[in-house]
Structures are given as structure tokens and as C-alpha cells.
């Protein structure tokens, strides 16, 4: 295997190993070079299996490329590069190493040709990304990170069990179409894998790790986080479960419910986290429909989403970096001191809202058209509603409350040049893809026979967007728009952040009041057990002390006797 055929994750992992040895410019150079070099080699590489190893008797294919995975490979390289540029001013080894490892793990996951490699990178994704949350180095971020890690590891465990059962039932390690139609063990396995992917994909009720942890990460860490985990899950769905009808409904719910939360959420990065779920919903719907057009649309949307969602997170990160504030209630009027950031943010907002000539439009419309063509009318209406809603919260609310609205009195300046450069790259890509959609279309897994720019589409989309903007203006002028308030909005996480502890507390309280004796007994028992172990195994315990020779020999004789008796009778 020549160096150009190394799996992409190797470059990232090696780079992460190299970082601690370097300082200053050297480190930045390595950081920048890795996605470029790795991306270049990926671009040069033909499709197929590039690396096979045998581990514990399993034939593993940790590096397998085809059109689907290569597309994700490209966008991950782009995202990694942009995010690295954005984070270039950061002098935190922990974040730098974690982000490289994280990006590498995402690449490893999408290039896994077999389920075991997929599992390994699945867990690596969880373990490496959590450090980007911890890196905020606040108590709040730490707790959030722990919750995030627990849920992610749970996803990994489900995947592991699913994979083991699936491999046992099907006899193949290959990561290929799985579907939910199996029966028996394979059926259970396919469901377990489905749920594992669903957790990472932020399915409804399984989504709270995302809205919980992403906004708690560092300004730069969130950029990495937003790019990889959910997209890896989308990739896994696109490979394992295309055409699964259930996904259409799940996806439709995912597009709709987060926008309600986004409207009333105060933390602007959390607003973006909710809109991330909403965007992933479009992809999930596309995969669920499963036709060539729909899957193309889903995958293309994933590609675009990485870039424009990254751009939005970057602009909010810049605001947080410069002002130290991120709540809509505390911001406003920043367009005066951060005009460039404002414009870049608006480009991102236009992209996510799917304005014609911006990247969101060329991919989202594919999914919508596919839903319509296949007769999913209700779903189509939900998606349409969600599109309007996206514009509402991500397209208008984010720029409006951060940069316009009432003047908060904050006076700051533009963010560091590297941040601006990163945002500019992303913005240019957003516009470029919007103008020349063939750039992305040529990469898609299925052949593309779709033109986004016809009058019908453009007009319909513009009408939808302008009139939802009109709704915003109208509501705002009438004072009906909910003001930004410092608050926490209850979500499913309430179950494990409030109900579960409270329940536990209640039960423990019951124990406390009703049966102190029981607790004392348990306590006494535990300490007795501890003492017991200690007396026997502790340094002065019978098991650990040096025995006199005589006793040793005596027991030898006894054991011989026991042995003789056992063997004779």
C-alpha cells in the first residue's frame, strides 16, 4: 500500500499525534496541510476496496470508497479545512488534537466497508468529539459533555450488539443495504442498528444530546461538531436504509418540531442546533423516499448543509468570540461594528432558507420534488411548512436578533482574519454551488436529471420565502412576535435531566423516611464487605500475608489428600 492509498483517517490521526510535538506556525501548517493532502489523495483515488486486514479472524475493509462515501469524504475534507482555518487562532492543544481525531473518525466511518470498522469509528466519533465540548472548560460544559458522551456511547453499544447479531444472522460483515424487512435475529439486529444510527441522527426523542451539547462547546468546537456526527449518521442511513418508509415520517417530524423550539429559543447557537435537526430531517425524508432523485437530494443537501450550517455556526461563533454573549436577548445592533460578519451570516441564512442562487435551494428542492412525485402529499406540506419555518428562525431570526433588532449597546470589532477567511470560503462555496449546482450534482451517487432553476420552482420558493418574511414583519410590527427572553425550554431531555433525578430523589426520599434502618443495614453490610475483603486480601490479610513454610506444606498435603479422594471416588 503506497502512501497515496492510505485511508484518510490515518492522515488525521497521524497529524493529531504530531501536533503535541509542534509549536506555533509549525502546528498551524500541519493543521492546514492535513485536510489538503488527504483530500488531494482522496481525489486521486479510484473507487473500490483499498485496504483489507484480518483481525481476530475477521476480514475487515477499513477503506472502501464508492460514489456515496467519496461525496461525504469530500465534504468532510472541506468542512475540516474550513473549520481548521476558523480555529487557527486557538492555542489549545486539546481542541486541536480532538478536532483532528474527530474529523478523522468521521472520515473513517464513511469509508468503513464493514460493520466492525464502522463500529470502531462510531465510538471514536463519540469519544473524540466530547473533548470539543469539555474544551469549554466550564462546569456546565462538562456536565453537558458527560450527558452527550453517555448517549453517544449508548448509540455505540446498540450498534455493537446490532452488528454482532446481524453478522451472526447474515454471515456477512459488509456494510451495505440492511433495511428493516428482516425477520428473527436479523430483524432485531437491523432495528438495533437503526436505532443506533437514529441516536446519532437526532431522531425525535433521541435528539436532545445535540441541542444540549453543541451550544455548550467552544466557539470553534461547534463548527466541527455541526459538520460530522449527524452527517455520518445520514451517510449510514443512506447506505443501510434507503427506501425505508418509516424514515419519511420520522424525517418529516424532524423537520417540523424543532422550528417551534427554534422560535422561542434564546441561545442563538441552540437555535442553530434545532435548525440542524430540521435540516437533517429533510435528508432523512429523502433517504426514506429512496428514489434516485430523493437520495440524490438528501445527499446533496447533506453536502450543502455542512457548509451553510458551518457558516451560520461560524458567524455565531464569531459573535460569541468577540462579545462573549450568545443570547438573543443580550445581542442586537452588531451590524455596525461587524458588517462583514453580518453579510457572511446573511449569506448563510439565505442558503439555509433555500433562496434561489444559494446552495440550499438546489438540494432541498430535490427532496421536495421527490416527495411530491411519489405522492407523499402530507409530507410535502409538512416540508413546505418546515421550509417556511426554517427561513423564519434561521434565515431571519438569527441575523435579525444578533445583528439588527434593537441596539444592545455592544460595541466590538470584526473577528480575527482567519475567522473571516473561513467564513468567506464557506460563503463563496454556498453561492458557487447555488449558481453552478452541477458542481455537486456531478458527485452524487445516482445520475442526475434535475434542473433546479425553472420558473415554477424559483417563483414558488420566492413567494413562500417572501411571504413568510412578511409574516415576520407583520408579527413584529404588531408586537405579536415572542420576545427573546432568557429562559430554558423544556425538551425531551427533561425526562433524564429532571424527571429521572427527581424520581430517583423521590424514591430515595421514600427510603430515607420509611426505612432508615434498611439503609443503615446496607451501609453496614457494604462496609463489612469492604472490611471483609480487606481483612482477607489486604496487606495483613490471610491471603496476602507470608505464610510460614509449615502451613504451606500442610495445605499442600491436604490438597493432595483431597485430590486423591476426589480421583479415587
Amino acid at each position: 500500500m503506497w502512501i497515496a492509498e492510505l485511508p484518510s483517517f490515518i492522515y488525521f490521526y497521524l497529524g493529531a499525534l504530531l501536533l503535541p510535538l509542534l509549536r506555533g506556525w509549525g502546528r498551524n501548517l500541519v493543521l492546514l496541510a492535513i485536510p489538503l493532502v488527504s483530500g488531494f489523495f482522496l481525489w486521486q483515488l479510484p473507487e473500490g476496496e483499498h485496504w483489507q486486514v484480518t483481525l481476530l479472524g475477521f476480514e475487515l475493509t477499513p477503506f472502501y470508497t464508492d460514489r456515496l462515501s467519496v461525496l461525504f469524504g469530500y465534504v468532510f475534507h472541506i468542512a475540516a479545512f474550513i473549520a481548521i482555518v476558523y480555529a487557527l487562532h486557538v492555542r489549545d492543544l486539546l481542541q486541536q488534537v480532538a478536532s483532528l481525531m474527530y474529523a478523522g473518525s468521521a472520515l473513517g466511518a464513511v469509508f468503513s466497508g464493514d460493520l466492525i470498522s464502522l463500529f470502531v469509528f462510531w465510538e471514536m466519533l463519540a469519544v473524540t468529539s466530547v473533548f470539543l465540548v469539555f474544551a469549554r472548560r466550564t462546569e456546565r460544559a462538562y456536565r453537558s459533555g458527560m450527558r452527550y458522551l453517555m448517549i453517544q456511547v449508548m448509540s455505540g453499544l446498540l450498534l455493537l450488539v446490532g452488528v454482532i447479531l446481524y453478522v451472526q444472522a447474515s454471515g456477512s460483515l459488509r456494510f451495505d443495504f440492511i433495511g428493516l424487512e428482516h425477520v428473527g435475529t436479523a430483524g432485531l439486529a437491523s432495528w438495533l442498528i437503526f436505532i443506533a444510527i437514529g441516536i446519532k441522527c437526532a431522531f425525535p426523542f433521541l435528539h436532545t444530546w445535540l441541542t444540549d451539547a453543541y451550544p455548550e462547546s467552544t466557539p470553534t468546537g461547534t463548527i466541527f461538531l455541526s459538520a460530522f456526527t449527524t452527517k455520518v449518521a445520514v451517510y449510514a442511513l443512506a447506505r443501510g436504509y434507503p427506501g425505508t418508509e418509516l424514515l419519511i415520517y420520522i424525517g418529516a417530524v424532524m423537520t417540523c418540531f424543532p422550528i417551534f423550539y427554534a422560535v422561542i429559543e434564546n441561545d442563538l447557537r441552540r437555535v442553530l442546533a434545532y435548525s440542524l435537526i430540521n435540516q437533517v430531517g429533510f435528508m432523512v425524508v429523502g433517504i426514506g423516499i429512496g428514489t434516485a432523485l430523493a437520495v440524490n437530494g438528501a445527499v446533496a443537501h447533506a453536502f450543502n448543509d455542512v457548509i451553510f450550517k458551518g457558516l451560520l455556526f461560524m458567524s455565531m461563533g464569531a459573535v460569541l468570540h468577540m462579545t462573549g454573549k450568545i443570547n438573543g436577548s443580550e445581542l442586537g445592533g452588531l451590524y455596525k461594528s461587524m458588517p462583514k460578519t453580518t453579510i457572511l451570516c446573511i449569506v448563510g441564512a439565505a442558503s439555509i432558507s433555500a433562496f434561489p442562487l444559494f446552495s440550499g435551494f438546489v438540494s432541498k428542492s430535490m427532496v421536495m420534488t421527490a416527495a411530491l412525485n411519489n405522492g407523499y402529499n402530507v409530507i410535502w406540506l409538512m416540508l413546505l411548512f418546515a421550509s417556511a419555518g426554517v427561513f423564519h428562525h434561521a434565515g431571519i431570526k438569527i441575523p435579525y436578533f444578533a445583528f439588527f433588532a434593537h441596539d444592545s449597546g455592544i460595541r466590538t470589532s470584526e473577528p480575527p482574519t482567519n475567522m473571516l477567511i473561513a467564513m468567506t470560503i464557506a460563503a463563496v462555496l454556498c453561492v458557487a454551488i447555488g449558481v453552478y449546482p452541477e458542481m455537486v450534482y456531478s458527485l452524487l451517487p445516482h445520475d442526475v436529471d434535475y434542473t433546479p432553476y425553472d420558473t415554477t420552482h424559483v417563483l414558488a420558493q420566492l413567494q413562500l420565502l417572501f411571504f413568510s418574511a412578511l409574516a415576520f414583519v407583520w408579527l413584529n410590527q404588531r408586537g405579536l412576535y415572542p420576545p427573546e427572553l432568557p429562559s430554558v425550554n423544556l425538551d425531551v431531555e427533561w425526562f433524564y435531566r429532571r424527571l429521572l433525578p427527581r424520581l430517583f430523589e423521590f424514591i430515595m426520599g421514600l427510603f430515607w423516611s420509611l426505612n432508615e434502618v434498611l439503609r443503615q443495614t446496607i451501609k453496614r453490610f457494604l462496609s463489612a464487605l469492604g472490611n471483609h475483603i480487606h481483612t482477607h486480601s489486604g496487606p495483613q490479610g490471610i491471603l496476602a500475608k507470608t505464610w510460614p513454610t509449615g502451613r504451606v506444606v500442610f495445605w499442600v498435603a491436604m490438597i493432595l489428600a483431597a485430590f486423591l479422594i476426589l480421583s479415587l471416588y
Binding site: A460, Q463, F467, L470, W474, L490, F504
Partner: protein, 107 residues
């Protein structure tokens, strides 16, 4: 670069009004185009004049109003999750709580 102390473009109500007027004009134009331009449709509703504008407008109004209702149910203090009685206090013997090894499950 704008001087940060001078009033910004949007600080003048006249400017805001002007922007809004342009915006309203755009909306009207788009609505008229619906009549003018012939379009191919898949779903019967799409033929209705003003379907997209109406759907976009109503959708958003409903979205915001529903969200406001939701807020009544869901909104809590910002530090809602931060102030919980630590379970450790309940698990441990309050008399010698400091020495207990019970784990803080809430963490």
C-alpha cells in the same frame, strides 16, 4: 468601516420604512407574477392562485403563535436545571454526610 458611535443605517426609522416599502413592493410583485406566469404543477393545490404566498404567510403566523403557546408550557428559568437538590444529600446520612461514598447520580 462605519464609525461605531455614529447612528447606524437602521437606527433611523425613515431608513427602516424605506426598506420595508421595497419589501412590500417585492411581495406584491411576486403575488402578481403568480397570475402572469404559467407554471407546471404536480399537486392540484399548486394551481390555486396565491397558494405559496398564503401558505408561507399563514404557516409562519401559526408557527409563531403556536410557539408562543408552547412557551407558556415549556418555558422555565434559565438556570432551571442548575438548581436541583443534590441527590447526594438525600442518599447520604445527613449526620456524617461528608464521609459517605454514595455517588452523585445527578452529575
Amino acid at each position: 468601516m462605519m464609525n461605531s458611535d455614529s447612528p447606524g443605517f437602521f437606527d433611523k426609522p425613515a431608513n427602516v420604512k424605506r426598506v420595508l416599502r421595497v419589501f412590500y413592493a417585492c411581495c406584491a410583485l411576486l403575488l402578481i407574477m403568480d397570475v402572469v406566469i404559467h407554471r407546471h404543477v404536480v399537486h392540484p393545490w399548486e394551481t390555486l392562485i396565491g397558494f405559496y404566498p398564503l401558505y408561507g404567510f399563514l404557516g409562519c403566523v401559526v408557527l409563531v403563535l403556536l410557539a408562543k403557546v408552547m412557551r407558556k408550557v415549556l418555558m422555565r428559568d434559565e438556570d432551571f436545571y442548575d438548581h436541583q437538590p443534590r441527590v447526594v444529600d438525600l442518599v447520604t446520612d445527613k449526620k456524617d454526610g461528608a464521609e459517605s461514598e454514595a455517588s452523585d447520580v445527578d452529575r
